[in-house]
Point group: C2
Chain length 235, copies 2
């Protein structure tokens, strides 16, 4: 936790917060914080700054905060991701949140196992928990939007062309395609497939929606590696 993220309910005055639970435990056990310490803080959806620890007990921590810095810019990106297996989903959510992806669409694909859609990690509170861990890691305050699309065809036919319009549309896909471009300045819509890749029908449909296949070389990467690799190359 490189940023202590504060929620509206933590504020007992405009410049004062009281914390308990996970963040209190982290302050005590990881930061080994003491009264008087200054910590980096941020208000969820708002500004970042510093906080001074006024009180610290087994039950709660009280801080006086001063918030005057804007959070880092997001990437100009909509990321479509074939739903990964639950364990990988958790890590990918943290990664995209930490890297500044503002909008993630979790999409079905032929190679997504049906059971993946049953995971409790797709519940709004569970998604939020992982995204917050990413914000705390990277020092950001703005939650990414996560959209769940369980039906590939209607989404790709009806909604994707509008989402991709005005952006550079790309599909990460191994094969005889152009290399993924580097250091793009314009907005990007990027689709990353499941383990095993998109099936040809899906690549065709994504193409029709305005996304062009690009590849990263001979090596097949896990989704949790492909995501940071593609983002680092593009931006």
């Amino acid at each position: 936790m490189n940023l202590l993220l504060l929620e509206d309910a933590d504020f007992v005055a405009a410049d004062r917060v009281v914390l308990a639970g996970r963040r209190l435990k982290h302050l005590q056990e990881v930061h080994r914080a003491a009264v008087g310490d200054s910590l980096r803080v941020g208000r969820l959806g708002g500004l970042m700054g510093s906080g001074t620890l006024l009180e610290l007990s087994e039950q709660h921590a009280a801080l006086q905060v001063s918030l005057d810095q804007t959070p880092p810019a997001k990437l100009p990106l909509t990321l479509l991701l074939a739903l990964p297996r639950p364990k990988m989903l958790k890590r990918v959510l943290q990664t995209i949140s930490a890297m500044g992806v503002p909008r993630l669409i979790l999409l079905n694909s032929y190679r997504v196992e049906k059971s993946f859609w049953q995971t409790p990690f797709l519940e709004p509170e569970a998604l939020r928990e992982q995204l917050i861990l990413g914000l705390e890691q990277a020092r950001d305050t703005v939650l990414p939007e996560v959209i769940i699309e369980k039906r590939f065809k209607p989404f790709v036919e009806d909604r994707l062309p509008g989402i991709a319009a005005g952006s550079l549309g790309l599909v990460g896909h191994p094969g005889d395609f152009p290399a993924c471009p580097r250091a793009i300045e314009q907005p990007v819509t990027l689709a990353i497939g499941p383990e095993g890749g998109w099936i040809p029908y899906e690549v065709d449909k994504l193409r029709e929606a305005g996304l062009q296949p690009v590849q990263l070389g001979e090596r097949i990467l896990r989704v949790e590696t492909a995501v940071p690799v593609l983002l680092a190359r593009l931006f």
Copy 2:
């Protein structure tokens, strides 16, 4: 497992292998393979090609193999990594192996907890197991070399200058430094710090050894994300 990796001991003839254990289980449970199926195979440290499944039972699988393709090129990189916590070490080993890092040096740092050096994941067999998972993922056959350096100062003073000579030496480090360069053609020696970063003394010593600090922007990334991000940007 995108490549069935064969070891010398699997070969019962020049073009025939017999497998048991983890790979047999994977063939049965994940690939749901059947006699007659063709699979991508590679010989550890050698060529890649295809194998035809001749026999499949509860006890073993027999394949006829034809090996005629060279594995993908490695990156021109020596990667120094402050030893990550054990759980992260496992994933990082898979990632660096999958991405084609030929040489990894696991190094001590002030912010590496002493207990991390006690992990069984540093045993040669345990390192090898994770590296092999990375090769199977990415379709490569050549194990990276892993060097363990428990003492920062003598390594950085005595050995690192020789390792970095003739390469572009870089230290990933947040702060007021140049941005990490992109699409480098020359060999690189790259050092990535622990969670919390290198301490100033360590940055100074790495500089003296020929490594220049570069940064990736305001966002602080976990080591397991920083590794693929830095490699994707550099190569």
